[in-house]
Amino acid sequence: MLQTTTQGGSTDPRRDRPGLAMRPGGALQRRHQRQQRLAGGLGWFSLGLGLSQLLAPRGLARMIGVRANRSTRDTMLAIGLRELASGFGILTRRQRAPWLWMRVGGDLMDLALLGRAASIKRRRTSAIGLGFALTAVAGVTVIDLLAAGRQTRIGTRGRTNDRGQETRTYVTIDRSPEELYRFWRDFTNLPQFMVHLESVATLDERRSHWVAKGPFGASLEWDAEIVDDRPFESIAWRSTEGSPVQTEGVVYFRRAPGGRGTEVCVDVFYDPPGGQLGVAFAKLLGKEPGQQIKGGLRLLKQIIETGEIVHSDSSIHRGMHPARPSSEAEIMDIEEAAQ
């Protein structure tokens, strides 16, 4: 399954846009955001608990039904520091998983301490308070375990910033949403401007077969299906179950104010073969889909507005090339590479 690691509740431009907030096919992203909110909540919980343990160790001890003596206070202070550390870690570090696992470790330690307190059974320990505390910590432990587990899977599946797997890009094109929707809805048009695609063939009304250029001349193939189709508004597609490439995309068409055409917004989620390593490798070769999609939208605008992709003396070359005309041999190389 595809996961993204955009910070939940971050400044999402779509939040201010009712039209875009209901992103079709966005279940993955919503789940991911829930996941990030859970981890964030646990971080704040750590901070709160840590602070109260540092500021009011005795009161807290009494609340959970253990004797508020000197050794209890020291234990409370130590646990408080640990909580603060994991709280800060979860809230401020990109890699959240280790800090969540630190919480799990802390939970087990707390359970052990509480268990010991319960077994000693002194006069001033309260069975009710202890029982309540044990139940609460056990509950929190389960939540921590779940959060840490999920966060770890994200960590190994992809980068922990939002560039590797989710790309959002925009362009305004001087045509009606209807015209642009029709152009995009025919997926066979996509390779014209998404230059990393070799071809897209439609299999039926909803399904299509995609072939992309991979590194070293290898090609990647997968089937995709349209999961949501709102004429003149949006199209969402997703690779089918069992595809070697997990990908999901959605394009929105929104009328631009002032008769300036259409605002096209594209979200693409993908999980390339090789996960994080694959993304890093693709970037190294300049084939990271995020970059390609951004460039692709610019080409789409050129094609629609001017009728062709606009070239300069340097832009026709894949790598850097001085701004000077190309030789016969260079042109032949470019043409060969394009085929």
Partner: protein
């Protein structure tokens, strides 16, 4: 073909490069008959514009004869004599439709570089770095001209190259600088920089009805041309007098109604602030030296307009924001939307209202280009404008 190629700071060479060819069906190939060195080429020469590469063909002021056209070119034919605007514009995007041609949304294939540096990307420009598109320039025997139906203007017979060549950049640029001042009869305009663009800003302010036009420079020969040829009424040599005080004196303490910065990022000056800017620029802590910009803002009368046509590339220090805000100044700036001015300015030339060839002081063969860069940079031999001919 032969072309002037950038090879690093203060290193321009004549090189043999392949002839250009049609890359888009809206291209034309032009055999260049005259090409000029622009003051803004000196920013490239001095290494102040980022994203240049060894081997880039320079030049964005050129004209010539159409020798080949792409399939979809309709307005031009082989044999037409044309002047080519320096910005490349598609003519169809929203910006082009609003006649903001130097902001064309489709002509810069490297817009992503410009976006990183400036937030959004301007149009592509001939021979002016990779962030401006990576287009080969026109200091060469031939050039490929994209969107040939949109940019080039056909020149009627009866005019020499030198009379029309500057429609490609400096005449419209100076004109736009004056036009942005929204001049009213009786207005006083101060123009910083009496180089070629400054000369045309002065001449245009005169065409647009300014009553007094004050030229500011440090080279007597430039101030002389401003007074005798371009139409300035007064001149200030900033090495001899204090500019602020002199402007106040000339305007009864008000300051000029409009101030035009025709200098840009390599301004000269004196004093501590000049030393400060030189040092920061050398360390790349500041990309541009805004001495003229600061001075123009401080000098402008309350509620007046500061018009910026000198080229800036990056960030500036000690920007007098308080003066700008509290005194209700208007700042207008931009790379010239040349296409917008071609026809009206050609009409003025045809009517004899102006003969732009007055700025030309040096003529040379393309082969002597590298020498001419030096002459122009060091203002040797009273150099104002160099025109190169490839044949």
């Amino acid at each position: 073909m032969k072309a002037l190629c950038w090879n690093g700071k203060k290193d321009v060479r004549v090189e043999h490069v392949p002839d250009p060819r049609i890359l888009n069906q809206q291209d034309a190939i032009v055999r260049i008959t005259s090409t000029a060195i622009c003051g803004s080429d000196l920013h490239l020469y001095n290494g102040f514009i980022p994203t240049m590469e060894k081997g880039d063909v320079l030049g964005h002021e050129f004209m010539g004869e159409v020798v080949e056209v792409g399939r979809n070119v309709q307005n031009l034919r082989v044999g037409d004599r044309v002047v080519v605007p320096f910005p490349i514009a598609c003519g169809r995007c929203n910006m082009c439709k609003q006649e903001m041609f130097s902001l064309c949304e489709n002509s810069n294939p490297n817009s992503w570089i410009a976006e990183k540096m400036m937030g959004h990307s301007p149009a592509g420009v001939f021979g002016y770095s990779h962030m401006m598109g990576g287009y080969a320039g026109g200091q060469a025997e031939y050039a490929r001209v994209p969107f040939a139906d949109i940019g080039p203007i056909k020149i009627p017979s009866g005019f020499t190259d030198e009379q029309v060549l500057f429609l490609s950049d400096i005449f419209p640029t100076g004109y736009m600088g004056a036009e942005m001042c929204n001049l009213l009869p009786g207005d006083v305009v101060a123009v910083w920089g009496a180089g070629p663009v400054g000369q045309f800003a002065i001449a245009s302010a005169r065409l647009l009805g300014a009553e007094r036009i004050i030229a500011i420079d440090r080279f007597p020969y430039r101030l002389k041309m401003a007074l005798e040829r371009a139409g300035a009424t007064d001149a200030i040599n900033y090495e001899e007098v204090d500019v602020q005080e002199t402007l106040k004196e000339m305007t009864g303490g008000r300051g000029p109604d409009a101030c035009i910065d025709a200098v840009g990022l390599e301004a000269h000056g004196h004093g501590m602030l000049y030393a400060y800017d030189r040092a920061k620029q050398a360390l790349n802590l500041e990309q541009d030296r805004p001495l003229v910009l600061r001075e123009a803002i401080m000098a402008c009368r309350n509620g007046g307009t500061v018009s910026i046509i000198g080229v800036y590339g990056g960030f500036v220090d000690r920007f007098p924001m308080g003066s700008l805000m509290n005194r209700s100044l208007t700042i207008k700036a931009g790379q010239c939307h040349v296409h917008r001015y071609l026809r009206p300015l050609m009409d003025r030339i045809e009517r004899g209202e102006i003969d732009p060839s007055f700025v030309v002081t040096h003529r040379a063969h393309l082969d002597d280009g590298p020498e001419c860069y030096k002459t122009f940079l060091h203002k040797q031999d009273d150099c104002m404008k160099v025109v190169l001919t490839p044949s």
